[in-house]
């Protein structure tokens, strides 16, 4: 659905994103899109603080991922997204609610982790391979220009081996660990409360930063 002067009614969205927050986000959307109806990748360049973010590429990519994040039928990357899509992505970051039961909590958690998983798994084959993991670590450390490639590599290797030992346990010398599947990913995140960590407080959004 496209929008005119006002944002769409939150039919498809979870009820926790209040209409006030939608107003805020809509204003922000208009800022980013320069009053157009859609946002393209280039519009994200106008956010100054995003420059410093090492995983900038992955974040922007996540906004345009059609099948996984935008819940559309087709595959690949969208060229532009409208406000509804924007909200869909934002809804992944909504905070936890007190009145959620076990099942809802579990689904909530899985949703967020799935979003993360797609960011790691760049070729979307359902597995995070060693190369993809190396890629992630490289990007994380990309802010340090004079780092040796070898250190980055060994960190990723070490992490992968640890993941393998968590998920599979003891491995014989001939077994090969293909990659981290989503179930393994869930196991790795067991200790960390993703549902409380992965959220952005939409509470007070009076100050909306400007983009140039």
């Amino acid at each position: 659905g496209s929008l005119g002067a006002h944002p769409p009614s939150p039919l498809s969205l979870p009820p926790t994103v209040t209409s006030e927050q939608i107003e805020h986000l809509h204003r922000r959307f208009k800022q980013l899109s320069r009053d157009q109806l859609t946002i393209r990748k280039e519009n994200f360049d106008s956010i100054p603080d995003l420059e410093f973010n090492p995983i900038r590429g992955k974040i922007i990519h996540a906004f345009f991922d059609k099948r996984r994040n935008l819940r559309q039928e087709s595959d690949g990357l969208a060229d532009e997204i409208n406000f509804e899509d924007f909200l869909t992505i934002m809804s992944y970051f909504r905070p936890i609610e007190m009145n959620m039961d076990e099942e809802q909590l579990d689904r909530f958690r899985k949703e967020k982790l799935k979003f993360l998983f797609h960011m790691y798994d760049s070729d979307h084959d359902g597995k995070i391979t060693l190369q993809e993991y190396r890629n992630v670590v490289e990007e994380l450390l990309s802010g340090n220009p004079h780092l040796e490639k070898e250190s980055v590599r060994s960190i990723a290797d070490g992490a992968m081996m640890e993941a393998a030992s968590i998920c599979v346990g003891q491995m014989g010398p001939d077994q090969v660990y293909e990659g981290i599947t989503f179930e393994d990913f869930l196991k790795m995140w067991q200790g960390i409360d993703i549902e409380t960590k992965m959220h952005v407080r939409f509470l007070n959004m009076e100050t909306i930063a400007h983009c140039y």
């Binding site: 603080d49 410093f52 995983i55 450390l141 802010g143 070490g158 200790g191 407080r201």
Partner: protein, 689 residues
């Protein structure tokens, strides 16, 4: 059958010991010593606070800072005034014995006793292992309420001398709170930065590195106390500020020294404090007034419970992770009072506060009650209520990667939303830190080392030490999995010597050298080791020799493994494990590949006969490394170094070769820290981690 230590917390036992000792001294006819407030505040309290502040889990602390501050400031104020006011009412109604106690005196009393005591909290909470959130909430509160206590105490003490208290005085008092707390923090930060800056230049004098940490922190405390600022907050601030930079600069041994000294001092302090409390109880002049004491106790508890309930209701509006009633109960129940209250009361001047003895009695009663009753019952209550306990999760590299990734992701989302939130500011602070502060305060290359790398090195070293310490007995610790690099990346080429030059007899030569060195160590052992001189020389030495021989055999086996199996390049897990004995923290990712760092582990140390010296011969020397497709890896060879004669202090023995990296390594080794080097059992097993 539960032993005494399971039921009774250590603090209680210590107080009982103090009571016994005091009673004994009194029984003999001597006057038992009282807990001198000067000694308490100047010598006994700082080590505990420094220990707490230096090892404060910063992440949880900052995440809950708002909650902690509200509990500390508002909670303590509420306690003080509620208690003071009610006690005044009681005094008025309490008959002739209590009538003369003024409102101010009561308020002063309230402010002294309302503060949750960090020493008591630490003593009790250490043993019950509750989850980190509750621990940091109660503990953080006990630390930060010092500012409030200091302000209120001085305020009321002064006011008690005034004829009249005007509004201006009250407002000034209110302002002084900010001065005291922020001033204390400011002083702490200054000293912390100075300490960090000093540690940047200590690479030549590793021996006194720990001294700077202690010295500057103590000076921060004294400076703050000098100006009636909050010394505790200064101490905490300095510990928190200096820690990341100091840890990046100092050697591993210094780090261990600092850790152990702090733990030792704080342990001793804590013990002494509780014992003295017991002795002082026996020694002090008491004035027991039933009404006063009982009502104090009652109102303390009521005030605490009410305060926690109301504040939690307010705080939960802003928290993501709400505090459940169970949490609230533990927080309320964990409000223990301790020696600080006692000492503050003891400081009161008899002239102005004639009822000091009564106050003292009441305070001691409350302390005893909280420490004994609450301290003893909190553990079964925690079990009963099934409060979440502390999870023994080892920090893994995966977790670190994920946490950083998530941090960046959330910062990015906040930027996209245009919302200047939590993550945004944290990110800005980190960037500022990286760009400016780290450059000033961290020596050399480490200033540019990103957190992930530093963390990784630290973990590797820890694992390596673990491995070696247990590997010396030939046992593989269960923590190390058998997943190796082959399991995840089958494409890494199997062994193929780069250069066929490493022949069988070269291997044999290496082995012979190793064996010889081990023998030499053994011989030296007999003459150097004090213990073998005193004990039956033959039997001791014989046992030792057998042990060494067994270890030598194991080492040989592992050498075999190494020499026929690929070793990895320097930065890989295997090599970093081999860097034991050298200083991994001072390792610089060096630019030129010709000078592979030297790993020198001193053979003269009697406790580690397996120490092996590895000095890089030449790049074209013996290989044994896999030809990684892209890079041209250089070999790392073993070559025995002439062990220095027994008894030489390593400080003055320069390295045999004069390559800069060798010298650096020697410098690190020149730190004559606690002697037992971790046994170099298996430096070359190409384990996965």
């Amino acid at each position: 059958i539960p032993s005494v230590s399971n039921i009774v917390p250590e603090s209680c036992l210590l107080i009982v010991v103090g009571l016994l000792v005091g009673g004994l001294i009194k029984g003999v006819g001597q006057k038992p010593p009282m807990l001198n407030s000067d000694i308490f505040f100047l010598f006994l309290l700082p080590p505990i606070i420094l220990d707490a502040g230096y090892f404060l889990p910063l992440r949880q602390f900052t995440e809950n800072l708002g909650t902690i501050l509200i509990f500390a400031v508002v909670g303590t104020l509420w306690n003080a005034f509620f208690l003071g006011g009610l006690m005044y009412a009681v005094c008025q109604l309490g008959g002739p014995g209590l009538n003369h106690i003024s409102l101010l005196a009561n308020l002063l009393f309230g402010s002294i006793i309302s503060a949750v005591d960090p020493v008591a909290v630490l003593a009790v909470f250490e043993e019950i292992h509750i989850n980190e959130l509750l621990h940091i909430l109660v503990f953080g509160e006990s630390l930060l309420n010092d500012a409030v206590t200091v302000v209120l105490y001085h305020l009321f003490e002064e006011f008690a001398n005034f004829e009249q208290v005007t509004i201006v005085d009250i407002i000034l008092g209110f302002l002084s709170f900010f001065v005291v707390s922020l001033g204390g923090v400011f002083v702490g930060v200054i000293y912390g930065l100075i300490a960090a800056f000093t540690s940047r230049f200590t690479s030549h004098i590793r021996v006194i590195e720990p001294l700077f940490v202690f010295l500057y922190s103590y000076m921060a405390y004294l400076s703050a106390e000098l100006f009636h600022l909050s010394g505790i907050m200064a101490l905490i601030a300095s510990g928190v500020v200096m820690r990341p930079y100091v840890e990046a600069n100092i050697s591993h041994k210094s780090h261990t020294t600092i850790k152990y000294f702090l733990k030792m001092w704080s342990s001793v302090s804590e013990t002494l404090i509780f014992i003295f409390l017991g002795v002082s109880t026996v020694a002090g002049h008491h004035y027991w007034n039933w009404t006063f004491v009982i009502s104090t106790l009652l109102f303390c508890l009521i005030a605490r419970v009410l305060g926690v309930l109301v504040l939690t209701w307010f705080i939960n509006k802003f928290r993501i992770v709400k505090l459940t009633p169970k949490d609230q109960f533990i927080i309320a129940y964990g409000g223990l009072r301790g020696a600080i209250a006692f000492s503050l009361c003891y400081l009161l001047d008899y002239k102005h506060f004639g009822m000091r003895d009564m106050f003292l009695t009441a305070i001691i009663t409350v302390i005893f009650f909280t420490v004994f009753v609450q301290g003893m019952t909190i553990r079964p209550l925690v079990d009963l209520l099934a409060v979440k306990k502390k999870q023994d999760t080892k920090r893994s590299i995966n977790e670190e990667i994920h946490t950083q990734f998530l941090d960046h992701l959330l910062t990015g989302i906040e930027d996209i939303c245009g919302h200047y939130g939590h993550h945004h500011w944290k990110d800005k602070l980190n960037r500022f830190n990286k760009k400016y502060v780290k450059k000033c305060l961290i020596a050399g290359e480490r200033s540019k080392e990103p957190q992930l790398i530093a963390f990784y090195h630290k973990m590797e070293m820890k694992q390596a030490i673990e491995l070696v310490e247990s590997g010396g007995i030939g046992k593989i610790p269960s923590a190390v999995s058998t997943v190796s690099i082959q399991n995840i990346n089958p494409k890494t080429l199997p062994v193929k010597r780069i250069l066929p030059a490493l022949s069988k007899d070269k291997e044999e030569e290496i082995r012979k050298i190793l064996r010889n060195n081990l023998q030499k160590t053994r011989q030296r052992l007999r003459s150097y080791n004090r213990h073998t001189l005193v004990a039956d020389p033959y039997e001791e030495a014989w046992n030792q020799m057998l042990l060494r021989r067994q270890k030598a055999r194991q080492l040989e086996q592992k050498m075999n493994n190494y020499l026929t199996v690929p070793a990895h390049k320097l930065d890989s897990p295997t090599m970093s494990r081999a860097r034991i004995g050298s200083d991994p923290l001072a390792y610089e990712p060096k630019a030129d590949s010709e000078n592979l760092p030297v790993i020198t582990i001193d053979l003269a140390s009697p406790q580690s006969p397996e120490s092996v010296d590895l000095i890089n011969e030449e790049p074209k020397g013996c290989g044994g490394l896999p030809p990684s497709p892209e890079e041209d890896e250089e070999g790392l060879v073993m070559q025995a170094k002439e062990p220095s004669s027994p008894g030489t202090d390593d400080v003055f023995t320069p390295g045999t070769s004069d390559s800069p990296s060798n010298q650096r390594m020697m410098r690190c080794l020149s730190d004559p820290g606690p002697r037992p080097e971790p046994e170099e059992g298996e430096p070359f097993i190409p384990k996965g981690q």
